[in-house]
C-alpha cells in the first residue's frame, strides 16, 4: 500500500483523488490546500489541512498546484523521508536535498467532465531508479500507459502538444467561423473531426494526409484562397499548404 498526501485541491488534484480512491494499492491519507474553501469537497472522505507544517508522514507527496506555485510549495514541504513529486508538464525535475520526482498526467482536465484515467499517459521522472519504480507502481494503479520522460523530453512534449492540441483547437475555431458566417452548422464537421483524430492514432498522420495541398490541386487551392475573407486566414491557408507540400515532397 502506497501512502499519499495530496497537495492541492484543483482540477488535477480532484481527478487524481477520485482515481486513487478506486484503487486497492494507493491510500490517500491527507489533502492539503492553502484555503479551506476547496477542501470542503474532501473533508468527509479524508483528513485535510491548510498548513504545510502539519503534513502527515507519507510515502509520496503529490504536489498538484498551479505551475507558478510548484517550486514555492515544494520548498516548504519537509517530509521525513517521502518522495515529493509535482504534476506539471512545464516545471523541471527539482533538485533539492529531498527526494524529488514528476508525476505528470498528460490530459486536459475540466471540472465538469469525469475522467477515465486508464488511457491517460502518465509521464514519470525521478532522480533514482528506485523512486522511478515507485512512481511506475503508483501510475499503474490508475493507468496502463506509463512513460519515463526526462525534463528535456517533457519540454519538447509540451511544445508538440501546442501543435497537436492548442493550434488544432484554433483550426477548429476557424472552421467554425467559416461555417457560421455561411449559415452552415459546424456540426456537419463533427464526424470528420473525430475520424481525423482517430486515424492519427492508428497510423502516422503524415501517411494519411489528404486534401488539396498534398494532391497539389492548385485549382482548388486558388478557389479556396479566393473565398477566404481576411488576410490572416489567407496567410494561414498559404503557410500550412506550403508546409504540407514541403513535408510530403518525397511523395510528390
Amino acid at each position: 500500500m502506497q501512502k499519499i498526501v495530496l497537495i492541492g485541491a484543483g482540477n488535477v488534484a480532484s481527478h487524481l483523488f477520485t482515481a486513487f480512491q478506486k484503487t486497492e494499492t494507493v491510500h490517500i491519507i491527507q489533502v492539503y490546500n492553502r484555503s479551506n474553501g476547496a477542501l470542503k469537497h474532501f473533508e468527509k472522505k479524508v483528513a485535510t489541512t491548510t498548513s504545510l507544517a502539519a503534513l502527515k508522514s507519507a510515502d509520496i507527496y503529490i504536489v498538484a498546484v498551479s505551475d507558478a506555485a510548484v517550486r514555492n510549495v515544494i520548498t516548504q514541504i519537509n517530509p521525513t523521508n517521502g518522495l515529493i513529486v509535482h504534476t506539471s508538464g512545464s516545471v523541471p525535475l527539482l533538485n533539492s536535498s529531498n527526494r524529488n520526482g514528476v508525476f505528470y498526467p498528460l490530459q486536459t482536465f475540466s471540472k465538469q467532465t469525469s475522467v477515465n484515467f486508464s488511457d491517460i499517459p502518465i509521464c514519470i521522472e525521478a532522480t533514482t531508479s528506485k523512486d522511478l519504480e515507485t512512481l511506475r507502481t503508483l501510475g499503474k494503479s490508475i493507468s496502463h500507459k506509463i512513460f519515463s520522460i526526462s525534463t528535456e523530453q517533457r519540454k519538447k512534449l509540451h511544445l508538440a502538444a501546442v501543435f497537436a492540441c492548442n493550434f488544432t483547437n484554433h483550426l477548429y475555431a476557424l472552421a467554425e467561423k467559416i461555417c457560421t458566417e455561411n449559415n452552415v452548422p459546424f456540426e456537419t464537421l463533427y464526424a470528420l473531426i473525430t475520424e481525423t483524430a482517430r486515424k492519427a492514432q492508428t497510423t502516422s498522420p503524415k501517411n494519411v494526409q489528404t486534401g488539396p495541398a498534398v494532391r497539389s490541386d492548385s485549382e482548388t487551392i486558388a478557389a479556396h484562397l479566393q473565398q477566404l475573407t481576411t488576410p490572416k486566414l489567407k496567410e494561414i491557408y498559404t503557410l500550412l499548404t506550403q508546409s504540407i507540400q514541403a513535408e510530403n515532397e518525397s511523395k510528390l
Copy 2:
C-alpha cells in the same frame, strides 16, 4: 421502398452499398462500374453492368465516382424518370433536363475501415422540394444527421473541412515530428488529441482555447520559438499564435 441504381464501385459506393443493404426501405437493384474488376465484389449480391446504356429503371441513381468524372458520367445517364444524385462535396448541383440532386456523406472513407453511417452527416440538395424530401428519406434510412445544404454552402463547408481536418492532420504530423526528433513516443499525445476533438463537439472551440497564446504567456512562447528547429515551424507557431490572440482579443 426506394429502388436504387448505384454508379461506381469505389470506397464511397462500397460503403453506401453495405449501409443500404441493412435497411428495409432501400433496395439496390443494380451496380454499374466502367470496368469489371471492381464489380467482382458485388456480383453475388446484385445485378451489375459495365454499360451506362444498360441501366435499369430506378427511383434514384447514385453517382459515386471521382469528382473529375461526375459530370461526364451524369450526362451519359438517360433515366426514364429517376432522380440523379452525385456524392461529391466539391461538384455543384448539376442543371440539366433531368432531375438532379446531391447526396454527400461528409466523411473520409478508407477501404479497410468499416463505417457506422448513423453519425455521418449527409448533405442533401435538389431542385424541387419533392426531390429533397426523397433524398431526406433515403438519407434517414442510414443516418440520423441529414442537412439540407446548398451548392454555395457546400463550397464553404469544403473550405472549412480543410482547416478542421487536412490542416489539423498536418499539425498532428508536425507534433509527431517534434516527438520523434526528441525520442518521445507520439502515443503520449493520443489522449489529448482525442479529448481536444471531443471537446470541440460539446462547446464552441473558441470558448475552450487553451495554451500559451490565449494566456499571452510571452515567456513560454519565446521558449517554444527558441526550441523549434526550422524557420517554417517558427513561422507556423508565430502565425497561429497571432491568430489565436486576434480571435480572442475581446477576452484578453
